[in-house]
Symmetry: C2
Subunit: 529 residues, 2 copies
């Protein structure tokens, strides 16, 4: 398949602008041939008008049609075959195996959302039947369900060129909810975006979706902000840095009509290693933790950036074992120049701090020509850690910091000092459990996902996943960006009072034609009325 | 029961400040004896610290304990007897019958939330079981549920001194979710607040709740804003004007850690009257609509402020009938001086517009000494209405505006020109139904609740109620402030990955000890695992 480097303004390709850019391969530090043209103000406006017009049409389609559209996107992405995989590897510097896996995840989540639509109960239908004879006043028949809110702006993420970009989790959940999507393509992987966009548009046409249900634009900084500010846009999905996330958030809340921004931003994902498990599983943890820190060259939102343990003989032994293992880490190519630069500068700052010690670094040296990161692990005392707020900021890359605590109460104290997190992890043996409750209590307040005996990297796409958490992990803790509950971000409840059956949506009709679970007079049931 | 005019800083009464105020009765334009002392900075800080400390204790209580607390609040409010009713009438100027009804509603919603807690399924528990043998990587056991977010600031509303104030919907839903509450008492009814606070504190002590689960403060303007800005506060519930709502919203989004504000603000609640029903039910509608405009002296968020109908003989006949009925309206006392003043000024502005005509006003004249409002109905052409944005702003009081449209397409056009609304209403006969779909389509986008053949005033407290809607009806369309779904405002999802049974909350344990509905591997079931 030939790659189209134009914007997709709805179903139409368009490249009227005179500003263009090329993709860059971090693998060899070179531009990749092919000019991507940034959208003009007119193309931008047209895409938004199309989305606005598509919304009432798209949102009113039978859910089965929406489900078929999602399935078709997954199929069309698979049809792109090696072209997509190769382009994505070239643009992201990530290995083929990882990208192949990410493609599977991307298609899997589209199909999972299609399943959720077909099952249908996610709309939280509630019916309170009329009581015309109630005293002192009659009770009306009231029915409500969740309905889509309108066009959604999705910002492609650098670190998941497939699973959190053009057809990624934000797009899949917004399209599933019934909202048209406008993607702001990430500048690090425009070719990947181009291919995936073609797949989405092909799927939309094949399944009879309205023009405007999806657009994909290459935007300059000014229009990237204007996208949030545009009155047609009703919500924003974003994964990336806290600074860009908060720029979008501020633009959204300062609109004449404020809109929600679901920005997944910053997390250092504390891991607590309890004493007894460091005795029994020292080597297993040293190996697995090294793997987790290096996974995806440390460019996961859930990268374990902070590891808490008691300062004693056991932890000293563990740190020696960890250092031996960590030295074998292999430097690898980061996603782009600016992420690479930020990682180098973050590591430099840690090296320069007097109270921070080096635990280990990879024996092999990073090749700067290949935009590689140097894996590094540091340590610090808990007292010093808590004195320096900058140490709890994320260094995006294969970097972690051990915090040596004076007993379990100081572990709790360090956890309490942290901001909101995507994840928090505990490793413990049976004998450690009697000391765990205070730790579980504090991480329950701090994080969106608590992990026991595992590693935070690797976010399962399923119904129960929470990839979210208190600020600054996200801008909206009452949500998840991974898993099927992500659909709940792009809806609002709508009630119908005493409405004639003919004008009620399927989900609320007496006969329950969709067979969904509904709360009828306070009782969950699939029964008809 | 003696009334305590101090702040309640948790369980303790406290009045260390030197700034105080008296309640004012709009019924006779006079102050009511009794000095309420505004909280000092120290009392303010103590209340917040107590709320923060109470949160982990309160949120960890068995749900049955929280349910008992809510039930006990309702019982203690009833125990206040006539003292509460009389004080509330005096402070609000609302008639005894209305206040008695509002007390029933307030207690009813507390008990309804207690039922929701006992049923338990509202926590949206989801379990995806482990698949240790899955290829290429094993699947972890992941479980999630909704958990409370932390202390909530509740701002008492002027227009519902019981149902949307100290122990009103925001407080009930926040306490139900597991969040401590700090109420900023409304300055129009401090005595009502004092009595209800005593009831809440008594209930809290009797049911063994932690000190700090509830505080009630008299705050100056500065501290009313500081309450939103305080790091201990994690969400805000508010009902009132758009200007104050947006002041709180702006304070909340500009915090270092932004928090959600659930502000229910402004709505003119369009009502569409179709031609055939104006023929068949002219007099019934004239009477009922007059009643709805005057209900609560027009001081309902759902007051029908805009009535759309076609400009033809039928509507002329209807308007005559309406005018005859509306003239019989009885001027009544408004809630306070500033609301009264704003109503007079809003009506004056309408009188001064050349293109606005008077339809009718009450034959009786309002008595200014009793802070009474003059019921007035105006009319305007749709063309003129759409040219003047100021006409779609709410005039809080017994005031409505008929908009005469050139056919149904112009009705749709006027509806499209409106901002977000709490409600939208249609009155239609069978013969009108073939013309309704475009109207239903547009109001589905604009409002939180669609009413057929009824009146927007009267908001049923039930599972399916949506008292919300797109901006500026609320600051957050993905929510309701009335009905049991209001509990979903004060929670966030929390996932547990591979957690030992002992550390899992009841709702997520294998045996499903609470017997709640859960989504297990994508299937809704009450079965154990």
């Amino acid at each position: 398949m030939d790659m189209i480097t134009d914007n997709y303004v709805g179903f139409s390709t368009s490249a009227k602008g005179n500003s263009s850019f090329q993709a860059f391969s971090p693998l060899n530090n070179q531009n990749i041939p092919g000019d991507f043209t940034r959208a003009t103000a007119e193309e931008f406006e047209t895409a938004l008008t199309l989305a606005q017009k598509a919304f009432p049409v798209y949102s009113a389609l039978p859910v089965e049609d929406r489900a078929k559209f999602l399935d078709a996107i997954a199929d069309e992405i698979m049809n792109l075959g090696d072209t997509l995989l190769e382009r994505c590897v070239l643009e992201s510097g990530l290995p083929l195996g990882r990208i192949t896996g990410e493609r599977g995840r991307t298609c899997g989540q589209l199909k999972l959302f299609a399943q959720v639509l077909r099952e249908g109960s996610w709309v939280d239908a509630r019916i309170d039947k009329a009581q015309p004879d109630r005293q002192p006043i009659p009770k009306s028949d009231i029915r409500r369900m969740l309905v889509p809110i309108g066009p959604v702006a999705v910002y492609g993420a650098s670190n998941f060129p497939l699973a959190f970009s053009t057809a990624g989790g934000d797009t899949a959940s917004a399209l599933a909810s019934g909202c048209p999507v406008i993607v702001k393509s990430h500048s690090s992987h425009p070719g990947t975006n181009a291919l995936v966009t073609t797949a989405i548009i092909t799927a939309a046409k094949k399944t009879g979706m309205p023009d405007g249900v999806f657009s994909s634009l290459y935007l300059d900084h000014e229009h990237a902000i204007k996208l949030v500010e545009h009155p047609a846009i009703k919500a924003v999905g974003f994964t990336g840095s806290q600074s860009i996330g908060m720029t979008l958030f501020n633009a959204a809340v300062n609109r004449p009509e404020p809109i929600p921004v679901y920005a997944e931003m910053s997390s250092i994902n504390p891991v607590v290693l309890m004493e007894n498990i460091l005795k029994s599983k020292k080597d297993t943890i040293a190996t697995a933790l090294t793997g987790s820190v290096n996974l995806g060259v440390g460019q996961f939102c859930t990268n374990p950036g902070l590891i808490l343990l008691e300062d004693n003989e056991t932890s000293k032994n563990f740190l020696s074992a960890f250092a031996e293992e960590f030295k074998k880490s292999v430097p690898a190519t980061m996603l782009n120049k600016s992420i690479h630069k930020a990682c180098i500068s973050g590591v430099k700052e840690l090296f320069e701090k007097d109270n921070v010690s080096l635990v280990a670094t990879a024996d092999l040296s990073a090749n700067q020509e290949k935009t590689e990161a140097q894996p590094v692990a540091f340590s610090i005392s808990a007292d010093d850690f808590m004195k320096d707020k900058s140490l709890s900021e994320e260094v995006f890359g294969p970097v972690t910091l051990f915090v040596l605590c004076k007993g379990i109460s100081q572990i709790v104290e360090v956890l309490e000092s942290l901001q909101g997190q995507l994840t928090a992890t505990i490793h413990a043996e049976k004998e450690d459990e009697r000391n765990l409750q205070p730790i579980v209590n504090v991480i329950s307040q701090k994080a969106g996902r608590l992990i026991y005996g595992g590693y935070p990297t690797g976010v399962e796409v399923c119904h129960s996943m929470v990839h979210g958490g208190p600020f600054p992990a996200t801008s909206n803790a009452n949500s998840t960006s991974v898993g099927t509950a992500a659909i709940l971000r792009f809806v609002r409840p709508l009630a119908y009072q005493d409405f004639p059956e003919a004008f009620l949506p399927e989900a609320l009709k007496n006969s329950n034609p969709l067979g969904i679970m509904r709360l009828v007079d306070g009782v969950l049931t699939r029964d008809k009325i």
